[in-house]
């Protein structure tokens, strides 16, 4: 399919037959790809397709079991990060990788400090860092400690760091997963600028809209193998989905309207510890799916955490089914019928070292306990089996360690844990972050199904497509303040962005 490299004599980077085996999974099986000078190559694929693994190999973080790398047609062994950097290959990892105890400049130059006899030339790093921060549109002093930044800001620092490397090949592994539209746009213009300078970019994302917008070429991976390439002209949403999943995905956003029932969750004058000056009030009804939109750091996660008792509320009241409840811990929230699928699956959602079964029952095990707190193992097994089949979780058995599942299946385990509790209100914080299209679709269907059965669903998402696609109503937040509410009829990208940026009249400029 890809004949575009005929115009170039030799590709800048050529990857041939890379194989990588992890205990339990073959992450990559004879994968090949080529990258030309000055092109944006998108690599897409379902969760666990092996995208990150391939990129880590290119960046020298992991070593392949077999396969060759060619740069400008010359075979090169890449054994460690330093060598990769010497070849001009830089990787922005999927996960944030910053030292929170160091300032921005120190992070940007970590491992590449300008030195004289081992002594760091501090001044130079600050001057240079400032430039790169400006480039990515981050208005912060390079002296700021990274630990004090929001996730989105940290992601921008990662990008600034990658820019400072002045790489020939810049790999971005899901750079926008924690960025809002606004910041994403800033990133895209940086990418275009780099491309114009002749830098080659490998871009990984589950947001196919972005891929459509940016990519010159798309390489699709499926189950650790090449599943085909797409040229600029043949890139289309459906085509990409088809190649990733191996089948056509018919109705991506399965929105069906239900008549909302009575109010289940009512929040009045809520003030959160992170944003104590604003009061938040809203109500959530049965059968309703309500999205919460906003820019990075808008305070959505904070709101969810207060509702679920992770953080203490400053003031205000929360009622469930008309009954005011005092939530002091997540246990109280669960008792009141709330459930939260947290933002960070690996840090907050799962015990990675434990089995599927143990993760699945973690919340319900205390409900099903016998005398003396004895675990009801039978119930635990049955429940897990039920959830595995209901959610279509791909796992060899219920004793599989969760760590070895793909992202989407991990997310389903978290969902299963809460569905077992039959919550009245389901809180979802970025439920599809880093989840591939196939699993995304399943999650959407599940949300709609649960809502139709009477559950009230409140979900936070930074993916506007998704907010527009399945919510009955959307709440928009800006810097800790609930700036507005839009019904399904009034929803549009522009309307949401206006509220999200705190503007009420002017249109958004990017």
């Amino acid at each position: 399919m890809s004949n575009s490299n005929l115009t170039h004599s030799t590709p800048l980077l050529e990857v041939q037959n890379i194989t990588k085996q992890f205990p339990g999974v073959k992450a990559l099986n004879r994968v090949s790809l080529t990258l030309n000078k000055g092109e944006v190559l998108a690599v897409i694929g379902e969760n666990g397709a092996g995208k990150s693994t391939l990129m880590k190999i290119l960046a020298g973080v992991q070593t392949p079991d077999s396969g060759t790398l060619l740069i400008n047609g010359n075979k090169v062994p890449i054994l460690n990060v330093e060598e990769a950097l010497n070849h001009g290959i830089a990787l922005i990892h999927q996960e944030l990788n910053l030292s929170e105890n160091l300032d921005i400049a120190a992070n940007i130059y970590l491992g590449r400090e300008p030195t004289t006899c081992g002594i760091i030339n501090q001044k130079q790093t600050y001057i240079e860092s400032e430039k790169h921060l400006k480039q990515v549109g981050l208005k912060l002093s390079p002296h700021t400690l990274v630990g004090n930044l929001t996730v989105g800001q940290q992601q921008m620092v990662e990008i600034a760091k990658a820019l400072s490397i002045k790489a020939r090949i810049l790999i971005m592994d899901e750079p926008t997963s924690s960025l809002s539209l606004h910041e994403s746009e800033a990133l895209f213009s940086v990418i275009r600028e780099l491309k114009a300078q002749g830098v080659s970019i490998i871009y990984i994302s589950h947001r196919l809209g972005e891929v459509n917008e940016l990519a010159d070429r798309v390489v699709v991976l499926r189950d650790g193998e090449n599943a085909g390439d797409l040229d600029r002209d043949s890139i289309s949403h459906d085509q990409m989905v088809q190649m990733m999943v191996g089948r056509a995905v018919s109705q991506f956003f399965p929105h069906t309207s239900h008549e909302p029932g009575e109010v289940v969750l009512e929040v009045k004058h809520l003030r959160t510890p992170a944003n104590p000056k604003h009061q938040i009030s809203f109500a959530l009804k049965r059968n309703e799916i309500v999205g919460i939109s906003g820019l990075v750091g808008a305070g959505r996660t904070e709101l969810m955490q207060v509702l679920f008792g992770i953080d203490a509320l400053r003031s205000g009241s929360i009622s469930v089914n008309g009954q005011q409840i005092h939530i002091q811990s997540s246990k109280d929230a669960i008792k009141a019928g709330l459930a939260l699928v947290p933002e960070d699956r690996k840090l907050q959602g799962l015990i990675l070292e434990m089995a599927v079964r143990e993760n699945m029952s973690l919340a319900s095990v205390s409900r099903d306990q016998g005398p003396l707190g004895i675990i009801n193992f039978l119930k635990e097994r049955n429940l897990t089996a039920e959830m595995i089949s209901a959610l279509n979780i791909k796992t060899p058995n219920d004793r599989q360690i969760v760590q070895f599942l793909s992202g989407g299946n991990q997310q389903k385990v978290v969902l299963g844990k809460w569905l077992a509790m039959h919550p009245a209100v389901l809180l979802l914080d970025e439920p599809t972050r880093g989840v591939d299209v196939g699993a995304k679709e399943e999650i959407y269907h599940l949300m709609v199904e649960l809502a139709s059965k009477g559950m009230a669903i409140l979900f936070v998402s930074s993916d506007l497509e998704e907010i527009l696609g399945i919510s009955d109503r959307v709440l928009v937040m800006h810097e800790g303040q609930l700036t507005g509410e839009l019904s399904r009829e009034d929803m549009s990208e522009e309307a949401i962005m206006q509220l999200a940026t705190g503007q009420t009249h002017k249109t958004v400029v990017t």
Binding site: F308, Q348, L352, E353, L362, L372, I375
Partner: protein, 330 residues
């Protein structure tokens, strides 16, 4: 289970080697002694295992032993407490210590290493202050109480060999501990917290309570150990007793498969670990190795144990990988 197997084999090898070169090793008398000391150290090791599984550490065990061990005879002999009253008091003290650690660690978010390091300094200091560094003992009295530590029970079928009472205490505690760790939600929560505290909290677990509980268990079992040590040796010098015992207990737990990173561990393994430590010291005497080298040998054996464990684990992972690769190829 696999982790326990390795240490079990090591234990058997050490026993075998010692028995071959000195037939007295397996004599009823020697076995009784080894079993009694294993039981005492086993009890404190089980306690620290709970803390280690929860992802913490307790460096104060030796000092709790010292405090409880010197207070018991002090209260009984010096202050004429009744036995139940004295036991109740020292029990309460050890539980209070655990509670204190747990609260500082969970509510004030202090580091367990630091909190219990202070504990290590403080409790021994208090014991020394109270007793004025005088050796405490029961004299020839309190035979009934001392039966707990020095008593032996005839076994129906085995000639000559009598089971030391502390072994029964340890066995009871180990069974209860294993039950709690593996069959109850407390144990499940403990492991979950040891692996990922945040995820446990997000699942509605009151993590603080569980963590506090683990420190309470640890200090309480250290207190039980202190009582038994005092009853056993009948001569408690507050300045010397229990020095470094926290390290022996931690070493036994690590040998028995607890990971200092938290989340992992089995009670059976810990007990075997404690047994290995004691058998080693006994073997060193039995083999006539000079006392000076005792600790060096124990250190080397622990190190070899953990290195082998690590290498075996790596090998197993590698083997699984190649096996799967083969399967995939088919």
């Amino acid at each position: 289970m696999k982790k326990v197997l390795g240490i079990l084999i090591l234990l058997i090898v050490v026993c075998f080697v010692t028995a071959v070169s000195n037939e007295n090793f397996f004599s009823a008398y020697n076995m009784q002694n080894v079993i009694r000391l294993t039981s005492l150290f086993g009890i404190i090791s089980i306690g620290v295992a709970f803390v280690i599984i929860s992802g913490g550490i307790d460096l104060s065990i030796g000092s709790v032993i010292c405090l409880v061990g010197s207070l018991l005879p002090y209260l009984l002999v010096e202050h004429g407490f009744s036995v139940p009253a004295a036991l109740l008091l020292v029990g309460t003290i050890s539980i209070a210590i655990g509670l204190f650690h747990g609260l500082l660690i969970t509510k004030l978010k202090l580091q367990p290493f630091v909190v219990t390091l202070c504990g290590l300094l403080i409790y021994r200091g208090i014991a020394r202050g109270i007793t004025q560094d005088e050796t405490q003992g029961f004299g020839t009295a309190y035979k009934g109480l001392r039966y707990l530590a020095t008593g032996k029970i005839d076994l129906p079928f085995i000639e000559g060999f009598k089971l030391p009472v502390p072994f029964l205490i340890m066995l009871g505690l180990a069974i209860v501990a294993a039950f709690f760790l593996n069959k109850t939600i407390f144990g499940r929560y403990l492991k979950a917290i040891g692996n990922n505290e945040a995820a446990a909290r997000y699942s509605g677990i009151k993590t603080d309570r569980v963590v506090i509980m683990s420190y309470v268990i640890c200090s309480f079992l250290a207190g039980v150990g202190g009582v038994l040590f005092a009853l056993d040796i009948n001569s408690v010098q507050p300045e010397g007793i229990g020095n470094f015992y926290e390290l022996y207990a931690i070493a036994a737990a690590v040998l028995g498969g607890c990971s200092i990173r938290g989340g992992e561990g089995s009670i059976l393994g810990v007990v075997i670990g404690a047994a290995l430590m004691r058998v080693l010291r006994n073997s060193i005497t039995m083999l006539g190795i000079p006392s000076q080298l005792e600790f060096a040998i124990i250190g080397v054996v622990i190190l070899i144990g953990v290195i082998t464990d690590e290498l075996v684990k790596r090998y197993a992972i590698q083997r699984r990988a190649t096996q799967q690769a083969k399967q995939n190829a088919e």
